[in-house]
Every structure is written in structure tokens, then in C-alpha cells.
Amino acid sequence: MGFETTRRGLLAGGAGLMLALTLPIGRGRAQVTVAGPFAPNAFIRIGTDDLVTVMSKHLEMGQGPYTGLATLVAEELDADWAQMRAEGAPADDKLYANLAFGAQGTGGSTAIANSFMQMRKAGAAARAMLVAAAAQEWGVPAAEITVKAGVVAHPGSGKTSGFGALSAAAASQPVPEDPPVKAPADFVLIGKDRPKLDTKAKTDGSAQFALDVYRDGMLTVVVAHPPKFGATVASFDDKDALAVKGVQMVRQIPSGVAVYATNTYAALKGRDALQVNWDESKAETRGSAELFEAFTKAAQAGGTTVEEQGDLAAFTGAAKTLEAEYHFPYLAHAPMEPLDAVIEVKGGKAELWYGCQFPAFDRPTVAATLGVPVEDVQINVLLAGGSFGRRAQGSAHLAAEAAAVAKAAGADGTFKLLWTREDDIRGGYYRPLTVHRFRAGLDDAGKIIAWENIVANQSIMMGTPMEPMLQGGPDSTSFEGSTGLPYILGAKRIGWARMESPVSVLWWRSVGHTHTAYAVETFLDQVLEAAGKDPVAGRLELLPPEATRERGVIEKVAEISGWTGRTRDGKGYGVAYTKSFGTYVAQVAEVQDMGGVPRVTKVWCAVDCGIAVNPNVIRAQIEGGIGYALGTALHNHISLAPGGEVEQSNFHDYPMLRISEMPAVEVAIIASEADPTGIGEPGVPPLGPAMANAWRALTGRAQNVLPFGGATS
């Protein structure tokens, strides 16, 4: 381990020598408590031009890790923010593992949480080596040297230097074993609003995504996928497709029939002209109505117990019992950049360019598909145009399809695989269709004495390469948020009925909380009303004394929203609280009745995510999470027609929130010195229930079937 010098010419945009710093940071030394193998890491490059480039082990898909990870490095390096840069680290499980997973991948809102100490140690080590180099060159004691805003200085002699001039000498310094890091009180950059490193390239068209990669001789490929989940190719006729000018070949691959063309339009026209007969013998042929019926029956049967406390016999002593059933549809993630990847196969090696979210699964999948060693697969991780979970595939189905496309071509070549919006909306990997059933018992005094919640849905992880991560237990992503509640609810049972279908499912921004938060927080609201309690005061009463952070966000959101109760001046107000990905969030939504349709005009949010590394990004993620959740609650469902075909296909029938629907958002970040937790997802779950609670306050109507638009309550 140590520094290695490489020719600057290998890196775009500069001359001279480039310093690459690789740091050995062991698990113990990094003081990271999460489990996982930990090998040497390479996160920082300091150029002779003074630029500090942080290799982000986390995919930048809008949630801000380029800026966040660079902030952590810059803090301990005492760099000036203007000299910081970031780029995606390539696929390398040994160097770039997510410490929360033990493998390289981005997800679960873990980017800052798992990197917090690792990146700071990396920055601190680099700083120590620059200081040691300066001490040697200037002949002064290292202890007398200061570093501030990118300037290394020795006040006694008046000598100063930038990082670049010291980089060569720093390369020969020993790597500190365990460099000290700052106490939070000494943070200069952490905790303050910081401009994002990727903003400029995203305002002039220069930001590079997979679809922007063009290589000599590259063919564009689209795939005809089956119209029903679980169907396979029986036969196909490519005569008309091959007659389209520009179409080069048509090949059957495991996921469908691939059309290869010299340009995108020819590929799309070729696919239109293709005739495919599908074998539907193993396909899902049930429509959404039949699926809901089956899932509801399973929920009624009680499922298997996944959390239990006390004896549900308590229900027999209840003065009042409430029940409810909720239906949540399949949802597509619909990132603005549909799935895409470029793969080049040459002389037994493969190189890929795309917004790869799970290198740990994608790289070996490409290697296995092509029959080459993992070391001969290089993945260049580019920016991703959103993901919301869609690119985090345990099945690695996109990487597998790209590799299959390259393999089926039968010769070396470069291929850009493109999914259209229709492929995306109809292509599965949905938020699981889910049924919730509830009952709650109240005693004479309005105290909750019994609570039962049964969840019926498909497992995201079981039956996939991710199943071993469950270590034999049930898939908690199916019911997280129904379990683990902070509220005192008396005797309690949470059940889960695992359903099966060929319809593929995947985590969708905030995963289980997408439905559990809605179901729990709206049902609880009804129970509190039945008990004659205010939604805010009633929730606070249910919290045990040790639930200080839960209490903190609920009290804060009540304060900033000026909470006075469920209605005010003809508007409805609803509150909801969720803890997800380690972060505590409470929201209050203000809702107006626009002729039977809810309009959310303002949302207040209190968030406690530990140390707020960059409040600017935290606010942005909360704002965006609220918009993402609102559009979904208002508009979105993927439905299967009887027979099993998806009924939606593009944004005209799977509509996105538009600017006129976006509410004002006010965010309060709770001051904290706790380690940072997630922020990409936690803003999503409370919005739906806060809105529904406000709507019920205003209209008396409970919305137990989503989405609001077109749904009956």
C-alpha cells in the first residue's frame, strides 16, 4: 500500500505527474461497526494542478454522494472546496465495498453512513502525508505545519505550498497507521451548506451518462421483451425487421429477442417490425383484481408471525375494535434515464460503461455470462439519471442482458443496450403489490390494548441471489415499518404472508416503508380519532420515555407547522412519523379539497439524520422525496389486465408529478452529534399518510386504496 505515481496523461485534462493515494484502512482502525470484509481502498487522487479527486464508491444518481463523500475527505484533508472533484469509482469489490453490505453497491440510503469514518480517515491520512512531505522539504518539524483551505504552511519560516507541489514528495511518505480525525466541534465543512460538485455539468449538457457513450462501430440494441411476466420466446420471424435500413442482426437472448442496428431509430423500427410468438405456459395470467383477491385471502389467513408481544386475547377485553384493509398497487420506479448500458467485448475481455448501482452483483454476472474471469470485466461507473432502486438489482438483469447481447452477437464488438420508457414501465421489478389488514383494540379510556397487522406481498429478496443475506429469516423488506414501531400498542402481532408470482419485484425508494408507513400511520390516525385524541398529542402519548429522537421530530414538525389540530381555515392537516434507514422523519401536510381531489399546498418536515453533513443536500432530498411520494400517491399504479398484461406504458398513463402540483416545503433539520444516517429515502414514507390523514380530516373520507386519483375509498 502507499502512493503510486502514474502518468498524468492517463487522466484527462492536465499535465505532469498524478498522485494516486491508496490507503490501507482496516475494519478496526476505521472504527466502523458494521460487518464486512475490508481490504485496501483507493479514494483520493491529488494532481500537480492542486485538484483533489475523490473516487466515489457510491453511484451518483442525484442523491449527492459525490458531494458528500468529497466533503468528508476535504474536511480532514483541510482542502479548499473549490479544489475538490469527484468521479465514480470502477467496479472493484475489494477496494470499494459498501461497509454496510460487505460488497460494492449503493442502496439503503447508506452512502454517507457507511463512508463517514472511512472517507475522513482517508482524508486525514493524505493530509498527514502532505504535512510529512512539507516537513522534509522545508526542514521543519511536522508539528509546526498547518493546513488550511488547501494551503500547507509553516508560520515560523513563512513557507507555504499547495497540495500539488508536494504531491510527488508525499508519495514517498509512510502511510499513517491510524490518522486522527477531527472532533465534530472542529468541523469546517461538515454541517454547512455546500455547493454540489456535479451541478455545473448538469446545466450545460456535458454530464456523461451511459446513453451518452458513443464508440467506433457501436451498434444500438433494443430487446423485444415478453408481454407477460414469465413468458418466453417460442419462435420469431425477423424478415421484416432485417429489411429495415440500418438493422444489422436479430438474435434470441434469454430475456427476449434483440435487434441490433447502426442507430437508435433503426433499432426501434426494427423491433416494431419483428414478429415474436411467446410461450405463455409459465406466465402470470392473473390480472390485478385476481392478485388482490388472492393476497387479501392470504392476509385474512393471518400469515406467519414476524413480530409478537403479549397475548392477542387482549382483544376480547376491548371496549372498541377497529379494522381496516389497504390495497397498494405495483409501482414502477420510472427514473428519467431508462435502463441502459454500453458493453464492449474485445479479445476475451469486456468493458462496460453505465450507471452501475450494484457492481458486486453486476460484474460477476457479466463474467459468468461471457465465460471470462471477473478480473477481465471492467465496469466504468457513470452518472445515473435517477434510480430510486431500479438499478440496484440482485438479479443483475440489466448487466446480464447487456452481456447476453454481446455474446449473442457472436463476435467482438460494442453494443449500447437501451430500454425505452415502454420497456421500463412494462418491464417489472416493481414495488410489490401489497395488502395490509389491521385490527386495533381500545379500552374504555381510549388506550390501545391490542394491535394486529398482517402484510401480504411478494418477497423482494427470496428466490434471488440476495436471499443468503437474509440468513434464513423472513424477508424483512416486505414488512419493515409494520415491525419495529416505537409506539406502545399493547399486545401485538405482525404477520406476513409471502405471496408468489412471476411478476418481478424490487426495492422502490424506501422499500417496505412505501406501504407500511402509509398503512400504519393512517390506521393509527383513525384509532387515535376513535379514542378522542389529537393526532400529534396522541402519537406523543404512545411513545416511551426513551424515544427522544422520535419525540424530537414530531414536536418539531408540530412547532414549525403551527399545529392547532386537524382542520384550520377550510384546510386539512395531517401528521405522520416514520423512521427509515436510521433517520427519524415527521411531516405535516396541508391539504385542500379541489372538487373531490386533494391538493397538497404545503408540507412541513422535521428530520433527524444525525450529523447533517450537507444541509443543502438534505433539504434537496426531503423536497424531492416529498414530490416523488406525492406524485405516486396521487397518480400511480401499475395494473395487470385480466390475462396478465400491464395496462400502462408511458408517462401519459403512468403520470409523473408536474411542477404545478408541487407543494411548498419547509424543512427543519434537528441538530445532532450522532453518526449520520440515511437521507435519500427517508423523506418519502411520511408524505402519503400525512396527506391521507389531512384529507380524512377535511372530508371524512379514508383512502385505503391507492392511488388517490381514480381510486375508490
Binding site: 431509430y265 426501434l268 423500427k269 423491433r271 416494431d272 425505452t420 415502454e422 406504458s649 408517462f651 401519459h652 403520470p655 408536474r658 404545478s660
Partner: protein, 195 residues
């Protein structure tokens, strides 16, 4: 999709008789009272005038609608000062001078010009009697005489678009030729409006 389209083409060759839900003037020869015949002819014209292909861009309030169910236009658009959308998002931001077939399925409609009918010519949700009164009123029909109106109905390109609306849209009933013939007959019988 091909077979019904071919059938429509075949029927266009026979303008004077009933075709695809629209009757020709001959069908009303049996109405002896000229005034009543004129009203009947207009009511037949009304099958075209109140067809979603026409009404979608003849809103009374708000912006255009879409589809046979006349749902609000997506993406959301407004009328704007010149019946041509808002600054930054005018009709020609998306629509062109002809229908554009999309890969995958469907098409985006187009014609030159492509814009909303003025508010004065709003028909959506309005009764035939009121539509008729508007159509005849030069103050509200763009200064057209009845002869101008015939010319418009029989030969105007945007009116004709109603029978060539692009893949994924139901054409207006009949044909422009038949609609012109009905208009001619209605004018010749006194251009009487429904009561």
C-alpha cells in the same frame, strides 16, 4: 388496424350515402318541411361537430382535451393569449404540420395550423342549438358568410384532419366530402338551427 382503414377509404368514394355513422343529404329527402329538413341536416352535421376529434380543440373553459373520453390534455396545457398555448410551451412545441407516427405505438397529431379554436367557438358541453347559432354568427365565426362556411367545412385542411387523425385515434364519422355535402344542403334549405 389496416382492415377498418381500408374500409373507410372505400366508403369515401360514395359521398352521398350513409357511411360509417354519417348519413348523406339524400337520407333527409323524405322530410317534406324544408325548415325541418334543414334542422335535421344540421343535427346530422352535429355528429361531426360534437365528435371528440373536433370538440377536443373547441373547449369552452380551460385547455384542450384528448382521446375519445375527452380527458384533460397531457402534458397539461393552457389556452394562452393567442389560443396557442403558454409562453415557453406553445402548441408547436410538440405538434407539427402533420401527424407523426411514433415507434412503439400511436402517433402525435399535427396539421398546419394547429391551435385551439377561439373561446367564442367553444363547443365542448354546449348544445347543438347554441353551436349552430355560433356557427352562423359572423361576429363569432371569424367573419364567415354561409358560403365561406361551406368552403370551410368542405375543404379546410384542419377540418379535414378530423377524418385523418393518425394512428390511435377514431376518425370523425363519414368523410369531409359528406360533411361538405350536408353543409351545402343545410345552407340550401335555409340554414335553420335546431330549436
Amino acid at each position: 388496424m389496416r382492415a377498418p382503414f381500408a374500409a373507410v377509404l372505400a366508403l369515401v368514394a360514395m359521398p352521398a350515402v350513409a357511411q360509417d355513422g354519417l348519413s348523406g343529404p339524400d337520407a333527409f329527402a323524405g322530410v317534406s318541411d324544408q325548415s325541418q329538413r334543414s334542422v335535421a341536416l344540421f343535427e346530422e352535421m352535429g355528429k361531426v361537430l360534437t365528435h371528440p376529434r373536433c370538440l377536443n380543440c373547441h373547449p369552452v373553459k380551460g385547455g384542450p382535451t384528448q382521446g375519445d373520453d375527452m380527458h384533460p390534455h397531457s402534458p397539461p396545457v393552457v389556452r394562452g393569449d393567442a389560443d396557442f398555448g403558454a409562453a415557453g410551451m406553445t402548441c408547436n412545441t410538440c405538434h407539427g404540420d402533420k401527424n407523426i407516427r411514433l415507434t412503439g405505438h400511436g402517433s402525435i397529431p399535427g396539421h398546419e395550423p394547429w391551435m385551439l379554436a377561439p373561446v367564442s367557438m367553444g363547443w365542448a358541453g354546449v348544445g347543438l342549438a347554441e353551436i349552430c347559432a355560433q356557427i352562423k354568427d359572423p361576429e363569432r365565426n371569424g367573419g364567415k358568410s354561409l358560403e365561406d362556411l361551406f368552403e370551410h367545412n368542405a375543404h379546410d385542411g384542419l377540418v379535414g384532419w378530423g377524418w385523418d387523425p393518425g394512428e390511435g385515434r377514431t376518425p370523425a364519422p363519414g368523410s369531409q366530402e359528406l360533411f361538405g355535402a350536408l353543409t351545402r344542403a343545410w345552407i340550401d334549405t335555409g340554414a335553420v338551427c335546431p330549436g
